[in-house]
Symmetry: none
DNA sequence: ACGTGCGGGACCCCCCGTTTGT
DNA sequence: ACAAACGGGGGGTCCCGCACGT
């Protein structure tokens, strides 16, 4: 890896948690300067604007938090188990290695109308997550663990919505209980989809 | 009502949707000046800081969006019906009269660490919402519509989390489907809690 | 005294020490509002501008500090004693009843170029002070206590300059020593002017 | 000298007379922008706050006015002559190259209570000046020009107080006479300290 | 006559994201 | 990659007038 690439990567590693914690407009370049030890010019060499940097930082943040969520998951052939593992992973360490909570949630909320670059990345991340769920559900259907008329996309929406909503509550209350309750509920929900359930 | 009170109220009415759409740090005072037609001095006569104004604006926004959600609701003696009405109200018009979506969700995400004033208001709003749900669940239990061992607080968390999470997805996808799926899921969930269900 | 006059007088009493301590441009109307308990409009009823108020406050401050300096002074027929009393009065309580030190010094420095209203008042106050000294010197000459060729105006300048300069040093060092040294020096100076001295 | 240092120096050169004329709180950043030809960002790169800039500007102003006062002075071995030269230098060109008069006097008056940074600098400048006088007096004593029991610090206080006070009067009256009278008086005072005087 | 309440708009200091020399 | 400068806001405060009660 060239020196420039290493620097670029280092910037993203330092910037991602800051953007994720303080938000896009709440983060100042001087925060990033301090975190990276670079001057503004040094940062601008690698990114043409704050927005572009934020977008790249989102991708990095998402890969950091999503990798453990999905890792060693799609390998398994047991769809139901994969869903439950996904849920557990999220509920037990929602912000693994990423201060500020789930980048998808944070970015989706802030980038709501303006800031198309960030919004596009968030959409892509959501789509990716949904796909993982859908794959698992379809696997479960094929394996006759889940009823044939189960709607994979609906399951994905319910699963993601409940987890992200519970994360919001947990963060607001500074109490993991909401996440635990969401997990229990989703486990029961998955079970209720079981063939003959 | 004195003139000053009317002006203060007008400021809140104009400021609430702006803060809700652009976020606290994304909103500049000039945005509020333009929306209210007042100069800075005119605004700062009624609020001592942007943060105080934002906190009051959140309260206003919350009362605006929550009033229709809960109106004519606690009067009914049918707990289950009350829960379903709440869900429908949210799913069908999540941001009635309030551009930018649900103020609770938006504020909870942005005010995460700093900005205690806003955070406190968001917590209070969440608590209020939970209480409405809990009241309805307890009513349902008393009326023997719901199983005795139903946990009212857990139901509240599930309901709110699922709706807020689905709202986030809907806004990101610019598609109401997620909200509809959340509603269907929650209706089924409520039914599954029914006595003998 | 009419109510309005009483209010005007009260404003001056409260405003004078504030202007004297914080300076003209360092004093905000809100400081005066707080001190007087009046609203801005209530203050502006009695003074058409901050500058006019400051000028009137200077006159008040000057009368407050100069009255004790000169009181029961011109009555005495002993010119030399009068000079020494003046010096002692200043050296021992330079800012009697007037926080911030000597209004003449403070105002002369700040009103240097702009703010003609204040400058004029300061000039008048200096002139008044000089006259008191000159009167005493001339009295001393007539009484043959002082040499005939003594220049009364020069004595006035030396006396005032030394005292005000020493006051500046004392305030900067937060130590009365400089004032004491000035007093000793001026006493010796006066004595050196004595007939046959 | 690096570019930045040159710019910083230029800012101080331009800012010092402005602060000295209009005072700390009477000086606005736009005044400095206009004088330097820099934008706000260009100024704030070199100073972290107005107060820090003012403090540095005071140091600059003081060095500008004090250098000619003390230059080629301590070299001389004649203490009495050194004192008289100091007095003449001050009386004849009290604000050489520095509009607004003596920075020590101006700053001491304005920085009275708050603004510790400026106050500290003024104290230091006074101390420096006193030391020059004290050195000259001690030199005179050693050379047996001055009486052994002469108090060097008292002489310093008298000399500085009289000159600064006379400067205040001169500025207020827009007439150099007061300074001339102070000079004559101080010359006589110095002579009166002469051995056998 | 007197005082309050309200609003205006210019200005405050400071910090922003960005561009340019080097 | 840094150092330097740029402009244009950032939130907040200033002094002041006007409309209103009493």
């Amino acid at each position: 890896m060239r020196k420039g690439e290493r620097t670029r990567h280092m910037i993203l590693e330092k910037a991602a948690p800051i953007f994720n914690s303080k938000g896009y407009s709440g983060t100042a370049l001087v925060d990033l300067m301090q975190a990276t030890g670079l001057e503004k010019g040094g940062i601008y060499r690698h990114f043409s604007s704050k927005e572009e940097l934020a977008a790249a930082a989102f991708d990095h943040a998402w890969s950091v938090v999503s990798a453990p969520r999905f890792a060693a998951l799609d390998a398994s052939s047991n769809g139901v188990q994969r869903l439950k593992t996904m849920i557990s992973n999220f509920a037990e360490r929602p912000a693994k290695n990423m201060p500020g909570g789930c980048p998808l949630l944070n970015t989706a909320i802030e980038a709501d109308d303006n800031n198309t670059a960030l919004r596009t990345r968030a959409k892509r991340a959501l789509e990716e997550w949904k796909l993982h769920v859908i794959n698992a559900v379809e696997q479960g259907i094929r394996a006759k663990q889940l009823r044939r008329n189960t709607d994979p996309e609906a399951v994905a929406v319910i699963l993601i919505a409940t987890l992200e909503g519970a994360l919001m509550i947990s963060r607001l209350e500074r109490d993991r209980r909401a996440l635990q309750q969401a997990k229990d509920h989703l486990f029961a929900f998955i079970d209720s989809l079981a063939e003959g359930g």
